[in-house]
Amino acid sequence: MSDLVQKLAHTFGALAELGQEISESNNLEVTARTSLHMVLGSVAIMRGAIALYDGRNCVLSILAGRGVGSENIDPIICEDGSTASLGLGGIRLICTQEAMNTSGFPAAVSKLLNLVGAENMIPLVVRGNLLGLLFLGEKASGEPFSTDDREILCAMARHIAVGLQEHNNREELESRAREIQSLYEGMRAIYKDTVRAFAVAIDCKDKYTQGHSERVGRYSEIIARELGWPEEEVEGMAVAGYLHDIGKLVVDRDIINAPYRIDAKQSSELNRHPGAGFEILSPIRHPYADIPLMARHHHERLDGRGYPDGLTGEQIPLGVRIVTLADSFDAMTTDRPYRRRRTLEEVIADLRKNTGSQFSVEVVIALCRALFNEGLHAIERKLSWLQGPSAKTRVVVGDGTQVIAANVNIVFTEHDNTIARGCVFSDLLRQSPRQWMRRCVRIRSQQSKI
């Protein structure tokens, strides 16, 4: 192979590899280091560096260096703003000694050149914008740069400049994406606060069910999460729970607060609230799907005996079925003017009786599983301060507030707490939620006999 052919093969190989590196890599530092190797190795230059010019903050900083002590060079602030003017001349090889003697040469670049000690430099420019500087020492051969050398070095500098531009574009895009994400999160927070405020307003109208909407929101969220829904949709279910009764805002307060079982006419008036809720919520662009529909259909039943549309089975979306159960569960476990809250046995009996006709099986199982898990946590908390060989405790299924207002009494009859903990947990963990529920009820009934 002749010298010329071999030289061409080597330099074009370097150019091709540089293009590949620039287009494939996402790591600026690695790309800069690799690019510098390729530039220096293409014509065998002993020393060199790539500096990044941050036009926004007017700072020049070394990205990669070879043989110039770059690790000890701090970023330089370009105080006079003239550095950017180097971009106006485009990409060309500049003899630094000559350039530094010309008037108006940027002081910051002179300072950096003195630190790097490079004899040549190429401004890295895209469309007249200075993005960086490529500093180059002398060739290993000691010969001056030939015209071919200059051309190949400028071609490589163009590649690097495009790489820097792409990096800047990506950074800007990421920064804007972060900004938009932050705005979006802010708007979502405002939306959630507004929804909560609505929930409070709805519940204020009904003195007997204060906190109902908030609890239905929580239960809906818990069930959806238990069903393995994505977090975004779980949030949507919480919102659906908060707003499911918004239609009650148009129902007469006396009917809502009647301290007795309401008559048929009043009942018909009250039954308007799902449709009214749908009307109120429909014009709003919610960040979650089907919020108005969940308000409209939360009194539908699988057997078609619900209202307002008498939907059946699969016609009722899963989200609606979740809100329906959450709503009923809260109604069962809180005091109403015409009846006291039900016991856990009664709640479970009611769930059993109505699963398949009113409530969806998978949703009931998810609620039971959530109760089971809450129960385990509550037991664990309680066990941590249990004393004595035979302990009797009352465990609130929930987080100790009124999250799930069902009480479970469990009697521990093991020899000591450690054994009790082990036995109770291993025993419970072997059981399905339904079995566990039955066991809780059995234990409670045994306890009441003690």
């Binding site: 030289k7 370097a14 190795g41 290993a140």
Partner: protein, 124 residues
């Protein structure tokens, strides 16, 4: 980076002499480890280095840049540098790029060590 890229650079220290095996690293960024190994040998007092190119098929622009780094490091401490077992194609490339001004060449590792030992004993 493949497992091969993570394997240590092979070298052997013979007191003031050291041999570093270039392997097939001199066409990618992981070849910087060759330079680091050479610098390590120089810092530990080695004053003559042999770089063995027996398993090196290709030296590209990255490899040339890395070798220039080794030449620079050796020059800074006055150490001798010999490239051994370099194939013809690579020798031509080094000649064309002017690397031959800075390093000696030997047909194989034994010849490189022998020439360096002679030089060392003459100096003594």
């Amino acid at each position: 980076m493949s497992d091969a890229d993570l394997s240590p650079v092979r070298s052997r220290n013979l007191g003031e002499l050291a041999v570093v095996y270039a392997g097939d690293y001199l066409n990618k960024l992981s070849g910087e480890r060759i330079e680091r190994e050479c610098r390590k040998q120089l810092e530990s007092g080695c004053r003559a280095l042999v770089i063995n190119f027996k398993e090196t098929e290709l030296v590209n622009s990255i490899g040339v840049s890395i070798l220039l780094g080794v030449i620079d490091a050796a020059g800074n401490v006055g150490a001798k540098l010999v490239f051994s077992d370099v194939n013809n194609h690579t020798v031509q490339l080094f000649e064309m790029l002017g690397l031959t001004r800075h390093v000696a060449f030997a047909a194989d590792e034994a010849e490189a060590l022998s020439s360096l030992r002679c030089a060392t004993s003459r100096r003594a």
